[in-house]
């Protein structure tokens, strides 16, 4: 997939002026992030899986 249009729009929105040299690397690494996004979006989740953006390590539910 070509993310060029998204990269252009997002960079402009955020005020990032990418040079030609930087743009090559950004394409590569944004593509890598996109491949990771495919993985996380491929896991079917329920509303109860909402993290609330607060993470607490989960201890096992067994008596000590």
């Amino acid at each position: 997939m070509d993310y060029g249009a998204y990269i252009d729009a997002a960079a402009a929105t955020l005020g990032l002026n990418l040079t030609q040299e930087q743009r090559k690397g950004v394409n590569l690494y944004f593509g890598l992030a996109a491949s990771m996004a495919v993985l996380v979006q491929g896991l079917p989740l329920q509303p109860a899986d909402e993290s609330g953006n607060v993470f607490v390590p989960v201890a096992p539910q067994v008596p000590e």
Binding site: A11, L14, Q22, M36, A37, Q41, D49, F55, V58, A59
Partner: protein
């Protein structure tokens, strides 16, 4: 002195058989003799350290100080009073010097330890190799042509080189466990939220951990115990009482239910890593295999959280002065700043899901075994590795086996083994001993048991002249 451990060194000073000043001077001498080749240190604080050591020697509390006269050093993302907190960057050289030491530095010094310097790292902790363009690569003390690992490469190398017996580092996706593996030291990444990060430069706030490196499990446990305790300045730090582990090490691995992680953790490991796991499994008396679900997705979740938070943190500098970033990190940070919110939120949800599934596994297991790195240390400059039939970027791949574990904040002790790679028997490789959240005692008990068998050890690198 370079071979002495934390526990023994502190006991000698408490009992008057050694002095803090002599310990510090020996460390300074070792640093002077070796750091031109290793490049672990970015600052050596000789004047401060000698002054502090004299104060320890003169203190009426000396005989009660648990770290009396123990020299240590910290990754240069820890605040050190009077120094700008570099976090491996050129940009932060312009920052105001820190007004006070990081909280963990203060806690160690309150028990008589003596800070001697700050250590090299990947820029802003974003890397697994410590090939830092601004400050040079930190070389592996056991083979100077090879990487030390990262991002806490200086922290591992300084211990492996015998420059100091104790260091602190940080671990977001593997940055304690990877360099500990490649440099052949013991390392502890505590549970997420266990140790306060107050006074350290963040990378990814929802994944950052701090922890120690040393040359043995008892040394790790002692330092870790003295750093425990909540701090309201770090909102991620759990409000838990101190739970000392050092007194529990003598129990060894007796009674611990141990299993080897299968699936991803074997598929993404080269033969030397699998050999190390097999040695540890045999020593701990297990043949049981368990598999965690959806590990690749968990790793992807950690990857995206890292992207989004790391990119956002540096957005202002990326706008104003992108050319001042290390070329090793710059384009990644720029790309990361563009990651959409929906990816981040989904990554956090996957992380939460995975934590629940992992907790179920720990209902019947106390310690999980996995390699810390896919292989022994690559040569500096290595770009690609072949793992599981795939050609993968070498630097990022060093974290393949650590990232899914820190994603859900589990405590891990990393233990070093030797001779697992027949083509390079002089190189170490680490094994992760992983426990349920808040059970650092179990990781460290297993580590201590393995150390007692002699299978795991952290010898000081010879670093003979010209080595």
């Amino acid at each position: 002195m370079s071979a002495a451990g934390v526990v023994g060194m502190a006991a000698a000073v408490r009992e008057g058989r050694a002095t803090a000043a002599a310990n510090v001077q020996l460390c300074l001498d070792r640093i002077a003799a070796t750091d031109g080749r290793v490049n672990a240190f970015t600052s050596v604080l000789a004047e401060r350290a000698l002054k502090r050591a004299q104060a320890v020697d003169a203190s009426p509390r000396r005989q009660r100080m648990k770290l009396a006269g123990v020299p240590f050093a910290v990754k240069n993302l820890f605040d050190v009073a009077g120094l700008p907190t570099l976090a491996g960057s050129k940009i932060e050289r312009e920052a105001q010097p820190a007004a006070r030491d990081a909280l963990l530095v203060r806690r160690l010094e309150a028990e008589g330890a003596v800070l001697v310097g700050a250590l090299n790292m990947d820029e802003y902790a974003y890397g697994f190799s410590t090939e830092n363009t601004h400050y040079g690569a930190t070389c592996n003390p056991h083979d100077l042509a090879r990487i030390s690992g990262g991002s806490s490469g200086g922290s591992a190398a300084a211990v492996a080189a015998g420059q100091v017996p104790l260091t602190l580092g940080s671990d977001t996706n593997g940055s304690i466990r990877v360099p500990a593996s490649l440099c052949g030291t013991f390392g502890l990444k505590p549970t997420f939220g266990r140790l306060p990060r107050t006074g350290s430069y963040p990378f990814v706030a929802s994944l950052d951990h701090l922890g120690p490196f040393a040359r043995g499990a008892a040394d790790l446990a002692l330092a870790y115990d003295l750093m425990q305790g909540p701090d309201p300045q770090d909102p991620a730090c759990a409000q838990r009482d101190i739970e000392p582990v050092a007194p529990l090490l003598e129990r060894g691995a007796a009674g611990l239910r141990v299993a080897v992680l299968d699936g991803w953790f074997r598929e993404m490991a080269l033969p030397e890593a699998l050999a190390a796991v097999n040695v540890v499994a045999q020593a701990l008396g297990t043949t049981r295999l368990v598999e965690l679900p959806e590990v690749a997705r968990a790793r992807a979740a950690a990857f995206l959280v890292t992207c989004a938070e790391g990119g956002a943190l540096h957005l202002d500098d990326l706008r104003r002065r992108a050319e001042d970033f290390d070329p090793m990190t710059r384009d990644r940070f720029l790309a990361n700043a563009l990651v959409p919110a929906a990816w981040l939120v989904q990554a956090q949800r996957v992380r939460h899901w995975f934590a629940r599934r992992v907790a179920q596994v720990f209902e019947t297991v106390d310690v999980l075994i996995a390699p810390a790195t896919p292989c022994t240390a690559p040569v500096i400059g290595t770009e690609w590795l072949e793992i599981n039939g795939q050609r993968l970027p070498a630097r990022a791949s060093m974290g393949l086996l650590t990232q899914p574990i820190s994603c859900v904040g589990l405590p891990v002790a990393t233990v070093p083994l030797w001779g697992m790679n027949p083509a390079a028997p002089h190189l170490p490789i680490g094994v992760q001993l992983i426990a349920a959240p808040w059970r650092e005692d179990r990781c460290l008990r297993a580590a201590a048991a393995l150390e007692a068998t002699g299978l795991c050890s952290a010898p000081v690198a010879a670093l003979e002249s010209g080595a």
